[in-house]
């Protein structure tokens, strides 16, 4: 379970960044006082346009960034006090994730399994299961740099799931992928839900959100504009379709 309360994130701006943004402010507010909860066995979607603060929020959940203010509890653990313990419980997959091109998929997955301190026997069991599931046997020993985008995505999935995380964070996982490759991710998200994991994923594609999520939060310029179930979102709709409703909410703010 993920519980976020009054979360705030401020970044200091360098001189060049201030010039770029044409501002005299020394800091910028990326996330402003947001609160939400993600339940196990449900898919929570963080929806927002580019630059809304989705990635910053997810990076705080993954303990890459520390919050300026507020509290994050993952599986009952406080992110400020137990960052390392939290990281053991989460799997993190982003659409922009790169992979080590000079390693083979097997070497990369073994490396991450070692970092997550997965037992050797457990690793063998899990990795073979994932290779079977994702049909990776043919290319597991080829250099990642020589793999297709679809194959790389499968490697990323395998890397994310190798330690069997309780919480899975997806940051725009399908961005830049073709429909067939994106289908692997959709299947993974559904599989996580079926296994009772807590799933949070960010996206700016409404159709993807409609397809998957149980709960939805809309974020724009760091502020939370909507936070409820998908059913409730559909009931409260004023526009013709989901995308139009999303745009309406964002523009109204």
């Amino acid at each position: 379970m993920i519980a976020v309360s009054n979360l705030k994130k401020e970044f200091s701006l360098s001189r060049s960044q201030r010039q770029e943004l044409q501002t005299k402010e020394k800091t910028t507010l990326a996330v402003n006082d947001i609160s939400f909860e993600c339940q196990p066995g449900r898919i929570f979607s963080l929806l927002g346009p580019n630059g809304a603060g989705k990635t910053t929020t997810l990076r705080m959940l993954a303990t890459i960034f520390s919050p300026t203010q507020g509290e994050i509890k993952i599986c009952g653990l406080d992110s400020r006090k137990s960052g390392q313990e939290i990281r053991k419980k989460i799997g993190f997959l982003t659409g922009s994730t790169g992979l080590y091109a000079r390693l083979t998929p097997h070497e990369l997955i073994l490396y991450f399994a070692n970092l997550y301190q997965v037992e050797k026997s457990e690793f063998e069991k899990r990795v073979n299961h994932l290779y079977d599931l994702l049909d990776m046997h043919d290319f597991k020993n080829k250099r990642i740099g020589k793999l297709s985008t679809g194959m790389k995505q499968k490697v990323s999935i395998c890397r994310t799931m190798i330690h069997n995380p309780e919480v899975v964070i997806f940051d725009e996982p399908t961005s830049g992928l073709d429909v067939i490759t994106a289908e692997n991710i959709i299947a993974l998200i559904r599989d996580c839900k079926a296994k009772g994991k807590t799933v949070i994923f960010s996206s700016h594609i409404m159709s993807e959100v409609d397809l998957l999520c149980d709960d939805i939060a809309i974020i724009h310029k760091g502020n939370l504009l909507f936070n409820d179930t998908m059913d409730s979102f559909k009931k409260q709709m004023q526009a013709k379709n989901l995308t139009a409703e999303f745009i309406r909410i964002v523009e109204q703010s």
């Binding site: 970044f11 993954a62 890459i64 982003t94 790169g98 080590y100 390693l103 991450f112 301190q117 890397r159």
Partner: protein
């Protein structure tokens, strides 16, 4: 955990062609290639210059003293033919055209002065850009002078020893090892420092900026490993790469000496062999370790700060001049290791290595140099740690 990161980064680095090129191939090949080229070219030049038949233009009496001496120059001094000229203008012109290589002018009263036991002048012309010609000219003139002196002493019935009141005997109390260490010993640490720096450069940029640029750092930061463990694992590879580049440069130098016979002087070869002991290599690496950590420590914060490979490269490359240039101090024979120089980073390593080669290293100064470098390395690691911990730096 640090070892896990270290081993993975090492594997990744060793598969990078660019790093292998800078870390292994160039250091190991550069000395055999340069030394072999240098030795073979200079040897062939020297041989050519010493043996090539040359033409000597002479202005003077055809049956005079100089002419006779030139006609009887021993073959060991190189083949030569004598041509007679009437004026110096055509003589100089022919030297410029390379029709003749040496021109000798003796005045009309040369023979008279010589016979009257007075000083007799000889003017020698040569083209200084023609390698080895000056030496040949000096040898021939010296031969003529010696013969003239012998002739005069014989005519005056004087024993040669009478006009040689002093026989100077020069004794160099410095051992060959000391001479080599103090005069040429600066080259070795310079090589180590230059290659150590280059060896660190590519892995530092690749493992920090490269990881940011490729977008792999984000997932690494979501694993339960601490940032300092990631930093140390990566830094370990950077340091090892620097040390490996230095080691391969040393290996290349050793191979050049042993297999390509670039050192023909047996005495010098024995001195080099006596220097290359386990103790010497161990002490050298003891000095190089904190230096390489220092190099890694100044490169890592830059690599962490930079957003692209190019940006990191454009900042680190000029640093090469700032850091490696002081190492050239070792080339100057007058600068010695003392309390002051032992406190100056990089220079202290160069001078300590020189003293080490010469076998005159003061242990207390070695400890001081090592301590200074260790302090500096520690500071640079702390700076790297702080820079790597900044949220603004670690992600693009």
């Amino acid at each position: 955990m640090i070892l896990t990161v270290f081993l993975k980064e090492l594997k990744d680095t060793l598969r990078d062609r660019r790093t292998i090129m800078m870390m292994v191939i160039i250091p190991i090949l550069i000395f055999p290639i340069i030394l072999n080229l240098f030795v073979s070219i200079s040897a062939s030049f020297e041989e050519d210059a010493a043996n090539k038949p040359i033409a000597i233009g002479l202005i003077g009496n055809k049956n005079g003293f100089i002419s006779k001496q030139l006609m009887h120059i021993p073959k060991e001094m190189g083949e030569c033919k004598v041509y007679f000229y009437k004026d110096s203008a055509s003589l100089i012109k022919d030297i410029q055209k390379d029709s003749i290589q040496i021109g000798i002018y003796s005045s009309s009263n040369f023979e008279t002065n010589l016979n009257n036991h007075k000083p007799a002048a000889i003017i020698c012309y040569f083209n200084g850009t023609d390698i080895g010609i000056k030496t040949r000219a000096e040898n021939y003139i010296s031969l003529i002078e010696q013969e003239a002196q012998k002739k005069r002493l014989k005519e005056l019935n004087i024993d040669q020893n009478i006009v040689k009141p002093i026989i100077p005997i020069y004794n160099n109390i410095a051992s060959d090892k000391e001479m080599l260490g103090k005069l040429a010993g600066g080259i070795l640490p310079y090589i180590f420092i230059a290659f150590g720096f280059i060896g660190c450069m590519y892995p530092a940029i690749d493992l920090f900026t490269g990881e940011k640029e490729r977008g792999t750092i984000e997932t690494l930061l979501t694993t339960p490993i601490s940032r300092w463990q990631i930093l140390f694992g990566k830094m370990g590879v950077v340091v090892l790469s620097g040390l490996m580049a230095s080691t391969f440069a040393l290996l290349g130098l050793f191979l050049s000496i042993e297999m390509l016979d670039v050192v023909e002087n047996d005495q010098l070869l024995n001195v080099i062999h006596s220097i290359m002991t386990f103790k010497f290599i161990f002490t050298l690496f003891l000095l190089l370790l904190p230096l390489t950590i220092f190099f890694a420590g100044i490169m890592v914060p830059i690599a962490v700060y930079a957003k692209t490979f190019k940006e990191a490269q454009s900042i680190i490359t000029p640093l090469n001049i700032v850091v490696v240039l002081p190492a050239m101090v070792g080339f100057f024979p007058g600068i010695e290791l003392n309390l002051t120089t032992a406190c100056i980073p990089v220079i202290n390593v160069v001078l300590s290595t020189k003293e080490l080669i010469a076998g005159t290293l003061d242990f207390s100064l070695l400890v001081l140099s090592f301590t200074v470098m260790l302090c500096l390395a520690s500071i640079s690691v702390i700076v790297s740690y702080k820079q790597f911990g900044k949220e603004n730096n670690i992600l693009v």
